[in-house]
């Protein structure tokens, strides 16, 4: 199993302003063959909130770390509620440190930041955990992997088999992207509500399959592509961090042609090979 990820800011924004965040664990290089569990958190911070990129980073890291520590986290139920509670509990201490640091730098929060910060920061969440199947170790069976995913909002997972879309989660049709997505609020202590609004699914991957995790703009492009086979082929051109420049150029071309909404883009690509 190989994994890589690419994150690109919207056109006109700097890398530091990008509000999409990705954490993949364990943090091996993209050309390292993984034989152990893998977790990933993909978050799309809401531009309308302040500190959205910081919350997206904290939330994606928290999701990947906790899913790694607890295999059943993404099955829903109390495990997910505990994760949500833990993630939200990290926000106020982080904010306290941030506010203090700004003060010490001689740049205390302005009046509009105080109001905005009090509203909390918001982000979507897509979390995935993949485990090698225990019963496929013998040479007589094809290797397989079991994956579980949780999603709040419209960041999407696609399961490709023979480089064709076999499954999409949680959004199933492109029309669903028009609506305001559910978001994970940094100050939302109602974890039962967060768990209720989240969606959970699982599946199996075999040799040659791929999982693609991505934020909404790229997912909407992929789903709406007239020639989906060609769209998948274009996307699979990008296979490692050295492809980031080409990835950015490709995204800007799609934006210029009006095919891709000008938004931040995060992509995680997981290729399943032999064991």
């Amino acid at each position: 199993m190989y994994v890589t990820h690419l994150v690109a800011p919207k056109h006109g924004s700097t890398e530091a302003e990008c509000e999409d965040a990705v954490t993949v664990l364990p943090g091996h290089p993209h050309d390292y063959m993984l034989r152990e569990p893998l977790t990933a958190g993909v978050c799309d911070g809401a531009t309308e909130s302040a500190l959205a990129k910081d919350w997206a980073r904290l939330l994606s890291r928290s999701a990947a770390e906790q899913a790694m520590a607890s295999p059943d986290l993404l099955a829903g139920g109390t495990g997910f509620e505990e994760f949500a509670s833990e993630a939200v509990s990290q926000w106020e201490p982080w904010l306290g440190q941030y506010t203090q640091a700004r003060h010490e730098e001689g740049r205390p929060l302005k009046w509009y930041e105080h109001t905005k910060v009090a509203e909390g920061a918001y982000s979507t969440l897509l979390a995935v955990r993949i485990d090698p199947d225990a019963d496929s170790h013998s040479k007589s069976t094809e290797p397989s992997w079991r994956w579980r995913a949780a999603a709040l909002g419209d960041s999407c997972l696609f399961h490709l088999r023979d480089d064709q879309l076999a499954q999409s989660f949680p959004v199933e049709s492109v029309e669903e992207f028009g609506t305001t997505p559910d978001l994970f609020g940094s100050r939302n202590h109602d974890v039962a509500l967060l768990a209720r609004r989240s969606r959970f699914t699982e599946g199996r991957c075999g040799t040659g399959d791929r999982l693609l995790l991505m934020t909404d703009a790229l997912a909407a492009w992929l789903m709406s592509a007239q020639d989906q086979e060609d769209a998948v082929k274009q996307l699979l051109e990008f296979a490692g961090p050295e492809d980031l420049g080409g990835f950015n150029n490709w995204l800007n071309g799609l934006r210029d042609r009006g095919q891709l909404r000008n938004d931040d883009v995060a992509l995680v690509r997981i290729d399943f090979e032999g064991r």
Binding site: Y112, A118, G185, R187, N188, D190
Partner: protein
């Protein structure tokens, strides 16, 4: 499709408020607690500038998605900004946010994120003060706005077009404002013609009317003139108005007659509603 341009820092839009500051604006406005029209209008503009600043605030400062002018017309026509921005016309929102004339602190109950409420200090910045003195030189005000709109559309030819919002008690004292209004909406960007919305804060009788599609039922010639001057609402504003409980149709215009305090605030909210900010 017009009125769909992305609003971003490299492609901002402008909002130009025209605020009637004539003597008659000291008359009371309808509502539970009678207030001067001038007070209600100034309060609504200050509140809107606060909300716009907060909406566009990020940790590195307020993003200049909007550039804003507040032009008063009464004894004179010109910038209604007080404090450091006095005399300025179109000002980037980041400068607006960083330069209120003063900031009042008030307490407000806000959600604690766990189903409860906590009392917290909230800042109420103020950029303009109420004023009610002199005639109603609406023509000159609209001409002033036209010069700003002309400059803007030339500078940002691909942007969402400028939005001009005229808040008045309706009685122009320097002639029929129709031609000056038409001159404003004759300017356009690639995304559509400049928009002119009118809010008639009349205290006289007549049924309050919000976002009508015809002048039928409007009680006087001032109201009918302002209706005729008003642009149809672009579709995203129409949808937003409908979601706020307003009855709208395809030909709904950005016009309100006999507005009460709540309607003034809601009108400004609908009239400045942006498509997605990028």
């Amino acid at each position: 499709m017009p009125y769909t341009a992305e609003i971003s820092r490299s492609n901002p839009t402008s909002i130009i408020f025209l605020v009637d500051q004539s003597t008659s604006m000291s008359d009371p406005i309808g509502g539970e607690v009678p207030q001067q029209k001038a007070d209600v209008v100034a309060d609504a503009i200050n509140r809107l500038l606060t909300e716009l600043s907060i909406k566009c605030a990020k940790e590195e400062g307020v993003r200049d998605y909007f550039h804003v002018a507040v032009i008063g017309y009464g004894a004179s026509v010109g910038s209604a900004f007080a404090g450091a921005l006095a005399g300025r016309d179109i000002v980037p929102l980041s400068e607006v946010a960083d330069n209120p004339a003063r900031v009042d602190e008030r307490s407000k109950k806000v959600s604690d994120g766990a189903g409860g409420l906590v009392e917290t200090a909230v800042s109420f910045p103020l950029w303009m003060d109420p004023l009610a003195h002199g005639g109603t030189p609406m023509n000159r005000a609209l001409q002033y706005a036209e010069s700003l709109v002309a400059g803007w559309t030339e500078r940002y030819p691909a942007s969402f077009p400028p939005i001009v919002i005229n808040l008045t008690d309706g009685e122009s004292t320097d002639g029929d404002p129709t031609a000056a209004a038409e001159a404003i909406t004759s300017h356009a960007t690639a995304d559509g013609a400049a928009l002119l919305f009118n809010l008639h804060v009349s205290a006289s009788g007549g049924t309050p009317t919000a976002f009508p599609d015809t002048a039928d039922g409007l009680p006087d010639s001032y109201a009918r003139t302002l209706f005729a001057m008003s642009s149809p609402l672009p579709s995203h504003m129409r949808s937003y108005a409908a979601s706020q409980g307003q009855r709208v149709s395809e030909t709904t215009r950005g016009f309100v007659y006999n507005a009460d305090i709540t309607t003034v605030v809601q009108f400004l909210d609908i009239g400045t509603r942006a498509t997605e900010l990028r």
